[in-house]
Amino acid sequence: MRVVVAEDLFLLRDGLTRLLSAHGFEIAAAVDSAPGLLCALLEHRPDVAVVDVRLPPSFADDGLQAALAARQQVPGLPVLLLSQYVEQLYARELLADQSGAVGYLLKDRVFNDDQFVDAVRTVAAGGTVMDPDVVTKLLGRRARDEPVTRLSAREREVLALMAEGRSNGAIAQRLFVSEKAVSKHTTSIFTKLGLAASEDDNRRVLAVLAYLNA
């Protein structure tokens, strides 16, 4: 699986490439600025990009802007953003095009390399991975008339874990229930959110989007 890594700090960039190589990823390019990232993304068309939000030249949200620009030209290009902070505003912008294959995680999540690599793979496969921090913040803030409020507490729990990019198996393990029970919950969620029974993966993305109110 080919990866483009964008990170301006040498130590972190080096660590990331080493970590990803160790887990069997092929590093297509490792760049240190937003323009470089845009070029690399359009040139190499990687299976997934791991991008720091804050990049040169202006050290603002250049990484995010470059990733969004690339996704405009290559719709659905999988991008996993890393940042010292997670902002709902940026999460929404990432999710806005509704094509999935995006991730947004705190940099600390790299510490747990298994989970991090899982997240990279999920994004590459077209899934959506949101940092638990974003998800928790969203939990506190729900308008009364949204379809999400029709879900039961358990279903919302399952949906929150889905938003973090977990598979049914992982959710079952986390909630100490059978995988069958989880799939029953997911079916119920899809019905309540009015998502037609077509391709399962796309429905997962749409359910998460409904949940995130993007």
């Binding site: 804050r54 603002a60 802007q65 470059a66 902070y85 902002e87 505003l89 600390d108």
Partner: protein, 603 residues
Amino acid sequence: MGDMWILFIVGWRLISRMLRYLGRGALLVPVAAMGMALFGFRPWTLAALVLAVIVAVWRPALATVLLPVTMVVAGISGLVAAATEPGANFWTVTALSVLKRRLVRRPPNVVKQVIDKIRRPPVIVRQVIVNGHARTVRLGPPGVPSRVVQVPPGGSVNWAPGAGIQGVTAGGGPGTQVWVKGPPALAWQTLGPGGGAVHLSYAGGVRPGGGLWPGGLLVPLALLLLTLGLWLLPRNLAGLRTHAAALVSSLRRRMLENRWGILLMPVALLGLTVFGVHLWTVAALLACLVTTVRWPVIAADLVPVALTAFAVRGFTIAASWPSALAGLERPGMLYGVIMVTTRQTAMLAGAEASAFLVIAAWLVPRTIGAHARAALVPGRDLELEGRVQRLTETRDLAVDAAATELRRIERDLHDGAQARLVALGMNLRAVERMLPGRPEAALALVAEARETSLRALNDLRDLVRGICPPVLADRGLGHAVRALALDTPFPVDLDIDLPGRLTAPVESACYFAVAEALANAVRHSGARQVHIRMHHAGGVLRIQVADDGAGGADPALGTGLRGVEQRLAAFDGILAVNSPPGGPTMIAMEVPCALSSPKIFSS
């Protein structure tokens, strides 16, 4: 026809462009013009129109706020005018006459007469005196000279205009005509030796006051204005409150900067009781109002001058009041708080005059004296001194605030990240020692160390967010407030128009001001809806945060809003809080600042 059409389109374009440029407030001008049409071409209606133009051009926001109030006032005045108009003669007036019956409690038969007169409109009965003999004339329909009164040779005729007789055409002979207008109680016209005819015309529907609207339009127009005004009023209530709050706070500042000038208005009001209510005293009162607002220093100087004038007047009264023995009766007159009727009360007036003089003498060195010294001694400027004083105060507060902030950061670092790094170091040292002997225990410690490093990172993240929120640094105030709204646990309605970046300190101060206002709404007020408005116009950033919560916020009680006020004061910004117990709360901020061109994001 085609020309008319083009003219119409051009006119419409012009009006819509003007509305877009000046905002809804520009409608104040046509409303004022309607007022002029309702009440006639008078000095005060003209003044209102000019004022409306000035406000609409220079203070569009204020004009928008004033619009509904003006509409309601004009509508009510129009209805009152229509109800009291004697020649009122249209269907709408029937309802008004019922209202009038309620208000005036007339006997029913009179009301019936009034209504009859209204129903059979165009005839009105008036008395004209010809050579001392009363003659009844019936006039009508409107606008047509309907009655000719013959006057014998050498005779004269008197008539009472008003009440329907708007103008009188008097024919002294063929071709001689005199047009009489206006509301004198009794007008008269002597005809030439040959006698002649007086044509009385009933100008039905024209307002006695000289307005231009036929009565038929007056009532619907007034109702239209009233309805529109009442419809707009609740929508503008928040703005009205903000303006009132801003006005109060700016008045407070003016009062602080100029202590004695504010005495001018009470003194001027006192002048009304000293010199009586005349045209010139009322004019002086208005002049004092303008002076107090525009030239506070001169206003302060005028206070002792006015008091001295009062004293002179009082002494004159005391000296010249005739004693009862002289047998001369003078009507009583008011002097300040004393009603002068006798020589004794005149002496009391003298005593009051002395008090005025003493106050004036006490004020002279504090006002005229101080200003003269400032003018004579070079390098002293009171205004500049006031400014320096304010700058010194706000600088002290800003330095204090910065020092407090630094202490907070130091404490947070000390108790948070620093402590965790120490723990991390100790853990690693323990791992070092355990690794050879007990590797499995060392493994647990490593996991713990990793956990500790995560916590340290979290602490640092929270700290940095408190110093400079990432979105604020990345994208500026508008986006940062949007992000803030997303993190708020209830719906926040945003109206942000900020097409550029501000300087970093102003952005930061404004961001934390909004954050504090929002946090108050979340923590204390139990609000369900918050509205944030943020606009930059005319070199001033205006922010309003309104919620529908319990109210009762007071900068004097909590440290939060007080801190915001002090932080904004460093940029000459002001904070106004309107939060009556029971709510709603409206917090308005104004910060003078420049807007740089929008940053283009690299992409």
